[in-house]
């Protein structure tokens, strides 16, 4: 993506090599390797407990890795404490000092750097303007709304012009509309400053909207690193497939394998799919994953996979329609926008569901354990 560049000599802004973190017997982060480019908006995405916050804290220097190395701009900072690292964090609940007003809060990091008063004043005013909080200098944390506190936390973290900004689920406490507004504001800010952002979130929509690249994590490991497009359309593991966007799952057994095609016995007939990254042989259990928007309903076109299902429900979701059908106990969900739905016309109890061969992703069946389900 444009706007990102690697520092000369292939040096990355932030690099994690074999980083591990264990708390007594619990391994929170298990051998993580990441290369984050300068100026990149990089997200760590995953469910609670996947190790993303611990990883972020290790980059910040607030936790020491049990093993591995952390490099900032090529320099080994693994043993360097947080107050000597040139990265700053925006915390989940903002962590504004309640005994200082806004001006003093932002002044704090400048004081630690012993920046002279005049210069500090200019920096404070300029960063306040940057986050649109000019005029709030004398206010205290208790006099600010959540969104305002968030911007002050941002200003405070940016005032020392760090090499990278680390954000730990900063939008979690905000209501929906405000969150969406802040997402674009943060993205614009990041582009404007050309600063490396490392963003931790469990909200996949957020990650997909804002990031240049995403690292999807679970159970302390990174399952996949890629652009939002790659993560969405080419998930490497069943977990990634299930965590991002919505997904239909069909279990079956491999009946034949050709050069790049694979035939799977499922739902009473043979599904024709594209071979995935996994080496699968005849007789192996298989998990077919299809995105709801890739399913066609009563389509006139001939497709590689067609099944007859029973209509279960139609739900209007505001932006789209969700049509649920069942076949042999398996639920297949399809999604249509307003135009597509109108074209479907009246729906009868018996419907034909179809999809193209390359619209499905195949995983080994034992990856079923990893699936995120609620």
């Amino acid at each position: 993506m444009s706007g990102t560049k690697e520092v000369k000599d292939g040096v990355f802004a932030i690099e994690l090599v074999g980083v591990r973190k264990a708390f007594k017997e619990v391994v929170a982060v298990d051998t993580v390797n990441l290369k984050i480019r300068s100026g990149e908006f990089f997200s760590l995405l995953g469910p609670s407990g996947c190790g993303k916050t611990t990883t972020l804290r290790m980059i910040a220097g607030l936790e020491t890795p049990t093993g591995g190395t952390i490099l900032l701009a090529g320099e080994d900072v693994t043993g360097v404490p947080a107050y000597h690292r040139n990265v700053n964090t925006v915390f989940q609940d903002y962590a504004i000092f309640p005994h200082m007003n806004v001006y003093e809060n932002i002044h704090y990091p400048l004081r630690m750097r012993k920046i002279p008063r005049k210069e500090a004043h200019e920096k404070i005013m300029s960063v306040l303007k940057l986050v649109n909080m000019d005029g709030f200098q004398r206010r205290y944390s208790s006099q600010l709304s959540g969104g305002q506190r968030q911007r002050i936390a941002l200003a405070r973290a940016l005032v020392n012009e760090p090499k990278a900004l680390l954000l730990d689920e900063p939008l979690g406490a905000l209501d929906f509309k405000l969150r969406v507004a802040m997402q674009s504001a943060l993205k614009e800010l990041q582009k404007k400053l050309s600063m490396t952002f490392v963003y931790v979130t469990h909200d996949q929509t957020e990650a997909i909207t804002m990031s240049d690249r995403i690292a999807v994590m679970k159970g302390g490991s990174v399952h996949q690193v890629g652009t939002p497009d790659e993560i969405y359309n080419n998930p490497k593991t069943a977990f990634v497939a299930s965590f991002i966007g919505e997904m239909n799952y069909i279990e079956g057994r491999v009946v034949e394998t050709l050069r790049d095609r694979i035939g799977i016995d499922a739902l009473g007939s043979t599904m024709r799919c594209v071979k995935g990254k996994y080496d699968m042989k005849k007789g192996d259990g298989a998990l077919i994953c299809v995105r709801p928007e890739k399913l066609h309903l009563n389509s006139g076109k001939k497709m590689a996979n067609e099944v007859a299902a029973k209509l279960k429900s139609v739900v209007f979701r505001g932006e789209d329609y969700e049509v649920k059908t069942t076949l042999r106990g398996v639920e297949l969900r399809a999604v249509f926008d307003h135009k597509e739905f109108r074209r479907l016309g009246g729906l009868r109890p018996d419907v034909k569901i179809s999809w193209q061969a390359d619209d499905a992703i195949v995983f080994p069946l034992d990856m079923k354990r990893e699936l995120i389900s609620y």
């Binding site: 915390f91 962590a95 000092f97 704090y108 630690m112 973290a157």
Partner: protein
């Protein structure tokens, strides 16, 4: 109110009856004795069984005789020193237990509170054995070869009074300090470190200011405990360590001038009440931060 049913809470008369025992207790054991003393303080004793009618004579005596008000100022001074010592020793302890210890926190907390179960007088006498001529301190110093003869400078003076009073005050200072320190959210410490402050700077600029409610409460408790104490000066104060409480006490002893004693006691009471009032009004920021 229409909504008040008999099931919600005791209405009317029943509410008063439930509160009665406490009210009677407070009246009999606190309010009435204090009122009796107050009325006594306004009568000057002229001789055995002879008192004047209402007069401010006792109070005027306090300001007239230097021994009274000088000793009072001395007690104020000693109380401040005691409180400073108590806070300076309790703070690192409270900080360590509140923020650094994870597992045995309750045990450590109990260890600090447990001495309160031992009799006050016995704990004071224990200090005699520490500070005295053949006491722990002297014996240790002699064993280490630092001195050859025991020093009698540790006991029966102001130093001994301050040390012992501080010792007594420490559990009372520790508790509010611990409570205040424990409430400070960890992310504020993280933020301070992340923004460039090492641990010491974080303590000075973030932890101490945010624990100020505890500091104020602790200081106040220690001050009040020390101000009126007379047992410690009696036991180990000698002549140099005498405090205001001693002369109040002596009015109820041999001198047998309960009237003067009451007035001197009330002056102490009034000053303490004013200090508590001012601190609570302007000083304590309990609940402001968290």
């Amino acid at each position: 109110m229409a909504e008040d049913t008999a099931n919600d809470r005791p209405g009317g008369a029943r509410r008063y009856i439930v509160g009665m025992p406490v009210v009677i207790w407070m009246l009999v054991l606190v309010v009435v004795p204090v009122l009796i003393m107050l009325s006594m303080s306004f009568r000057v004793k002229l001789g055995p069984q002879k008192v004047t009618p209402f007069s401010l004579g006792n109070y005027i005596e306090f300001f007239r005789k230097p021994i009274y008000w000088r000793l009072f100022l001395k007690s104020l001074r000693i109380s401040i020193m005691v409180s400073v010592v108590a806070i300076v020793t309790s703070y690192p302890l409270a900080y360590f237990i509140a923020r650094k210890v994870k597992r045995h926190r309750n045990l450590l907390f109990m260890l600090i509170i447990t001495p309160l179960w031992v009799s006050y007088l016995i704990r004071i006498i224990a200090w005699r054995t520490i500070l005295g001529n053949m006491g722990l301190l002297n014996l240790t110093l002699m064993k280490l070869g630092i001195i050859r003869q025991p020093i009698s400078l540790f006991i029966y003076n102001q130093f001994a009074v301050i040390v012992t009073l501080a010792y007594i005050a420490i559990p009372f200072v520790f508790i509010p300090l611990y409570t205040a320190l424990e409430k400070i959210p960890k992310n504020l410490i993280d933020a301070s470190i992340d923004l460039g402050a090492n641990e010491l700077k974080t303590i000075l600029r973030v932890v101490i200011p945010l624990s100020s409610p505890g500091l104020i409460t602790g200081f106040m408790l220690s001050f009040i405990i020390a101000l009126g104490d007379y047992i410690i000066p009696q036991q180990i104060g000698g002549s140099g360590g005498m405090m205001y409480g001693n002369i109040v006490w002596s009015q109820f002893g041999i001198i047998s001038n309960w009237h003067l004693g009451s007035s001197l006691g009330f002056i102490l009471f009034a000053v303490a009440a004013i200090i508590i009032g001012i601190v609570r009004r302007f000083g304590s920021k309990e609940g402001v931060y968290f």
